[in-house]
C-alpha cells in the first residue's frame, strides 16, 4: 500500500532525473526536439483535463495556446527590459482571463453543441489574429529573442538551447506535476465524478457549472503557459499557433496517447513529434498517416496507446502471478 502511494512520486522523480541527464548524451538537434516534446506534452495534458477528465470535447484549445504564444511575444516586443518571468506571467494572466470569458459563454452548452461552438470560437480567434496586424504581425508573425533568466542570485543566458531546455524541463515539468496534483484534489475529483453522473453531483450539492468553469479556465491557463514556452522555444510565433490545426494537433496527440490515463497525452506528444520529425523527411503526407492511426484507434482501441500498454502490462503480470489476479484489479 505504501509502495502504491509512493510509486507516482518515484516515477516523477525518475522522469525528471532522466530528463536532466538526457541532454548530456543527445545532439543539439535532439535536445531541440525534446524541448518541443515537453512543451507539447503540457499542452496535451491540459487538453486531456478537458477531454479525458471532464468529458468535454473541445475543438478550440488552440485559442488558449495561441493567445499565450502571442501574449508572450507581444509583451517581449513592446515592454522593454521585460524579464522571462514577466513574459510568461503575462501570457498566463491573459489566457486565464480569456479562458474565463470564453468558458462563461460556451459552457452553458454541452456535447456536440459545445464542440461546434469551440470550433467556431477558435476560428474567431484566428480571424481576429489575421486582421489585427498591428499587434500580431498578420501573416508575417512575430520574431522575439529569449531574454536572460534572472534567478535573483545569478543570471543565466537563455540563448543556448541546452540552458533553455533545463528551464523548460523545470517549469513545464512542474506545471505538469501540478496538473497531476490537481486531478487528485477534491476539485479534480469533483470534475471526474461530474463526467460520470452529473445529476447525482448536483443532488449532492455541488455546483457543477462553477466547477466546470474553474476547470476550463485552469486548462486555458495551462495551455497558455505551454503557448508562451512555444514562442520562447522557436523565438517566433505565427498565425498557425492559434489556428484550428493547432487544436487538431493536440487532439491527435492526446487521443493517440490515450485519454484514460494522466500520462497518455505525454506519451502521445512524444509519438506525434517523433513521427512528425522522421516521417516528414520521407513523405509530405505524414498527416494522412497520423489520421489513419487516429481512425484506427477510434474504431478499435478507444483508450489509445496507453490502453495497449496497459493490457500488455496486465497480461505480463497475470502470467507471473497466476494465483492472485483479483488483487491486481482491486488496486
Amino acid at each position: 500500500m505504501i509502495l502504491q502511494k509512493q510509486a507516482p512520486h518515484l516515477s516523477i522523480a525518475t522522469l525528471f532525473a532522466l530528463g536532466a541527464l538526457v541532454p548530456l548524451v543527445l545532439r543539439q538537434y535532439h535536445v531541440n526536439m525534446l524541448t518541443e516534446i515537453i512543451i507539447f506534452a503540457l499542452y496535451a495534458v491540459s487538453y486531456n483535463l478537458l477531454l479525458g477528465y471532464a468529458g468535454l470535447l473541445s475543438f478550440g484549445h488552440a485559442m488558449f495556446f495561441g493567445t499565450g504564444a502571442f501574449a508572450a511575444a507581444v509583451a517581449l516586443l513592446h515592454i522593454p527590459g521585460l524579464s522571462l518571468w514577466g513574459a510568461i506571467g503575462f501570457a498566463v494572466a491573459m489566457t486565464t482571463v480569456t479562458g474565463f470569458a470564453v468558458g462563461g459563454l460556451l459552457l452553458r452548452h454541452k456535447g456536440s453543441y459545445f464542440a461546434l461552438l469551440t470550433l467556431a470560437f477558435n476560428s474567431l480567434f484566428y480571424a481576429v489574429a489575421t486582421k489585427w496586424q498591428t499587434v500580431t504581425g498578420g501573416d508575417d508573425g512575430l520574431s522575439v529573442t529569449r531574454p536572460a533568466l534572472n534567478l535573483g542570485f545569478a543570471t543565466v543566458k537563455m540563448a543556448a538551447i541546452s540552458n533553455f531546455y533545463y528551464f523548460t524541463l523545470v517549469i513545464v515539468g512542474a506545471a505538469m506535476v501540478f496538473c497531476w496534483y490537481f486531478t487528485r484534489t477534491a476539485m479534480g475529483q469533483t470534475v471526474l465524478l461530474m463526467r460520470e453522473n452529473e445529476e447525482r453531483m448536483k443532488f449532492l450539492g455541488y455546483s457543477t457549472n462553477i466547477s466546470r468553469l474553474i476547470l476550463f479556465t485552469f486548462t486555458g491557463a495551462v495551455a497558455g503557459l505551454s503557448g508562451a514556452f512555444y514562442t520562447l522555444h522557436f523565438q517566433f510565433v505565427s498565425l498557425s499557433a492559434v489556428s484550428v490545426d493547432m487544436t487538431t494537433t493536440v487532439l491527435l496527440m492526446t487521443f493517440v496517447g490515450g485519454t484514460r490515463t494522466f500520462w497518455g497525452p505525454i506519451l502521445g506528444s512524444f509519438v506525434y513529434i517523433i513521427i512528425q520529425n522522421y516521417l516528414s523527411d520521407i513523405t509530405d503526407r505524414w498527416p494522412l498517416f497520423m489520421g489513419l492511426i487516429f481512425i484506427f484507434l477510434v474504431l478499435l482501441v478507444p483508450g489509445g496507446l496507453s490502453q495497449i500498454i496497459g493490457s500488455i502490462r496486465d497480461w505480463l503480470t497475470r502470467k507471473r502471478t497466476p494465483d492472485e489476479p483479483a488483487a491486481e484489479k482491486a488496486s
Binding site: 470535447l57 456536440s112 461546434l116 486582421k131 484550428v244 487521443f255 498527416p287 489520421g291 487516429f294 474504431l299
Partner: protein, 286 residues
Amino acid sequence: MSEFIVFFLHGLAYAGLLFLVSAGLTLVFGMMNVLNFAHAAMYMLGAYFSYTLVAVTGRFWPSLILCPVLLFVAGALVERFLLRRVHVHGHLHELLLTFGLSYIITELVKSVWGNYPLAMNVGGFLGTSIQFLGILYPVYRIFIFLCAVLVGLAMALILYRTRLGIILRASVNDGEMVNALGINVPLVLMGVFGFGAALSGFAGVIAGPLLTTYPGMAHEILIDAFVVIVVGGFGSLGGAVAASLLIGELQSFGVLLFPKLSLALVYLLMAAVLIVKPSGLFGEKQ
C-alpha cells in the same frame, strides 16, 4: 441603387449555398443526433469529383447528378461500417470519428489533386450573364439560389407530406417503437446519413464554379454552416433557411459597408445570439 441590388443578389446566392450545406448537416443532426464534422469534407469531395468529371466530359450537368450519387454511396458506407460501430461508445466517439474522417479526406484531397486552388468554368447558358433591372448579372448565381429553393421545398414536402417523412419524424421521437412496428430503422438512418452526404456533395458541385476548389474550402464553409446552425437553432430546417439568408446577406453587405470588419461580423452575430437566445432564433429550449 444598382450596386445595392447586385450585393443583395450576391447575398442570396451565398445564402443558397449555405442552406444547401447546413440543411444536410442539420438534418443528420436532427435525425441521428450526430454532428457530422466530415460534412464539409464531403462537400469538398463533391467539388473535386465534379472538377475531374468536368475536365473529362467537358460538361457540367452530368456531375450535378453523378457526384451526389457517389457521395450518397460513400455516406451510406461510412454510416454502415464506421459510424454504427462507434455508436456504442457514445457521443464523443462519433464526433471524434467524423472529425478523423474529415482530417483524412482533406489530406487525401491534397495528395490527389494538390494543395492549390483549381478554377472551373461552367460554360453554356449557365456561364453567361443576363440583363434585368438595369444590371448585368451572372446566371450561375441565380441558378444557385433556385437550386437551394427547390431542394428546400423538396425536403419540406418529403418530411411533412409523405409516408417516408412520417417515418423519419417518428424515428426521431421514438426509434425503438418505430422499429417494433416493422420498419427497418437502421436502414432508414443509413439512408438519412447518405442523403446528408449527397446533399453536401451537391452543394460542393455547385460551389466549385462560384468559389474556387481548394483544400481549405471545407473548413471555410464548415464554420459558416456551424454559425448558421447556431443562429437558426439546432436541427431546425426553418431556422436553417432564415439563418442562411441572414448570414448570406450579412457577408455580402459586410464586404460593401464595413470591409475591415466583414470577417468578424458573422462571429459577432453568433456571439450576440449566444448571449441573447442560446438555443438559436428558431431552436427549442434545451
